[in-house]
């Protein structure tokens, strides 16, 4: 469905009775060229770029629930490209560039707002590490500014600079980073893919794979068998569950990550602020709610809800950083499932089964990657070669030693 100013006026005069759903609700066909499992941001973006950029047809996206019901509707909407390692940073900068053109690309308001992100540092050693990170960001074409304490105080005067445990010495600022409306991203990609002929099939859970002579032939679903020449799995949070149906064990644990939103307030926080030392980060939505979160709960979970100790930890982090939010009332909190990989970095690769491809392991940072993840996965599905920014995201990197461990924490998923 398309929008125009004329249409808005016409609908306003006729009681808004002419609006149609943004995408069709098709019956599944008996077979497709490419089936994407998972109708989240990554799956929808993959389908969109397959059809738009790589000219593929006969594509279906299978979604267990409804579009936007999983992690694309549960994240804290931050987009940024402030990584360090060469396997990661060019990919995330590619994603940042796609974010910058996303609304024009989709002709849909995803509310991309480049309000900047600031990572705080508290020691000389951390400052040096952030300076190095900033240089790595520059090398990939991204932007980064190292702010000292005075410059930071100009921007965000409301922080507690003299916290006894973590006095704030400055921050690494990426002005082009920001936030996007997460639901709008899912809807925009879904609408774009649908207009290009992709079948988005909701309430269709994959219950098994049909594999013959080492090659995938299709998927069993709650709505019957669907044949497919290629199957791309993009179900981060549940990757292990889905890939187990194809007999694959993954270097992934599923964990729960909580997020929080306060009541709506007048604008007080200009961008995104991260306080890694205190396990806390925050931004303010366009509606005025403070959107914040912290660490994962730290144990395997498929529950889509966390426990109170982390709620307390996040609240303490917020109070340590900016005591001014202490009177704000919490409106909602929720949890989402994340694929915690063994090195903290994602996987976009072929699998041991011909025609079966995996996109997962996004840890707690998949939302910012949505456009590039979709583009790179579409590239892989269409050409059987990895996209140039995603060559490091191999499934076999753990065996070959080419891990991408930003945190340097080793094979301990709850530490990444």
């Amino acid at each position: 469905m398309k929008f125009s100013a004329l249409r808005v006026v016409k609908e306003a005069l006729t009681g808004h009775k002419g609006w149609k759903p943004l995408w069709r609700n098709p019956q599944p066909q008996p077979d497709y060229d490419i089936v994407i499992v998972g109708g989240g941001g990554h799956g929808l973006a993959t389908a969109y770029y397959l059809a738009k950029t790589f000219g593929k047809a006969r594509i279906a996206v299978l979604e267990k629930g409804w579009i936007g019901s999983g992690n694309v509707g549960r994240n804290t909407t931050i987009v940024r490209s402030n990584y360090l390692l060469p396997g990661n940073q060019p990919f995330y900068e590619f994603s940042m560039k796609l974010w910058e053109g996303l609304e024009q690309e989709l002709n849909f308001n995803a509310m991309v707002s480049q309000r900047g992100i600031i990572n705080l540092f508290h020691t000389d050693a951390q400052r040096d590490a952030f300076r190095r990170r900033g240089n790595a960001m520059h090398l990939s074409g991204a932007d980064a500014v190292l702010l000292d304490r005075d410059a930071l105080r100009q921007k965000v005067p409301f922080l507690n600079y003299d916290n006894a445990r973590f006095p704030i010495k400055g921050g690494l600022w990426q002005p082009r980073a920001g936030t996007a409306r997460h639901d709008g991203v899912a809807w925009g990609y879904a609408r774009g893919a649908d207009m290009l002929g992709v079948d988005i099939i909701q309430n269709c859970e994959v219950t098994g794979f049909r594999i013959n002579a080492g090659r995938v032939r299709g998927v069993e679903t709650t709505r019957g068998y669907i044949g497919a020449a290629k199957v791309g799995v993009a179900v981060a949070g549940s990757s292990s569950r889905v890939m187990a149906m194809a007999g694959q064990r993954l270097p992934i644990e599923s964990h729960v990550l909580q997020a929080f939103v306060s009541e709506g307030l007048k604008p007080v926080i200009p961008g995104v602020i991260t306080f890694g030392a205190g396990h806390f980060y925050i931004s303010q939505s366009d509606k005025g709610g403070l959107v914040f979160g912290g660490d994962i709960d730290g144990y395997n979970s498929y529950a889509q809800r966390g426990n109170l100790p982390v709620v307390e930890d996040v609240a303490q982090g917020g109070m340590a950083l900016m005591p001014m939010i202490g009177r704000a009332r919490l409106l909602r909190s929720w949890g989402g499932l994340v694929d915690m990989s063994m090195d903290g970095s994602p996987i976009i690769d072929r699998t041991a089964i011909d025609g079966l491809y995996l996109n997962g392991g996004w840890c707690y940072g998949g939302f910012k990657a949505t456009p590039a993840s979709g583009f790179a996965f579409a590239h892989l599905l269409a050409t059987d070669r990895p996209h140039e920014t995603a060559t490091a995201y191999r499934l076999d990197r753990f065996a070959t030693g080419h891990v991408i461990d930003e945190r340097g924490a080793g094979a301990q998923p709850n530490l990444h």
């Binding site: 292990s240 993954l250 644990e253 599923s254 395997n300 498929y302 529950a303 100790p309 065996a399």
Partner: protein, 98 residues
């Protein structure tokens, strides 16, 4: 979550540090001809089940014992806990009495 410590009774999970799947106690044989791939799988691959999961928790803020906790990852319900030393002990198969 409250973990039923076999020696100390119900303890808050906050006193513990989580390591992961209890199968980590079964280290592969380093002399096996497939030791390289066995160790790679041991270090990096996980079953990661949705449902009942046996997992290692370390009572760091308590008696510093390792426990094997059985927990449902879909509901966070804790189904039992035993000392890891007991769990690691080889099971004695008893002859059926005549």
């Amino acid at each position: 979550m409250l973990i039923p410590h076999p020696l100390l009774g119900l303890r808050d999970a906050e006193e513990f540090v989580y390591l992961g799947d209890a199968s980590l106690m079964q280290r592969p044989d380093p002399d096996s001809p497939t030791a390289l791939t066995d160790f790679c799988d041991y270090v990096f691959l996980r079953d990661n089940p949705a449902g009942v999961h046996r997992e290692l928790w370390f009572h760091e803020q308590g008696d510093r014992s390792w426990l094997v906790v059985t927990r449902n990852t879909l509901t966070h319900e804790i189904l039992g806990a035993e000392l890891a030393t007991d769990a690691a002990r080889p099971t004695v198969t008893q002859e059926p009495s005549a």
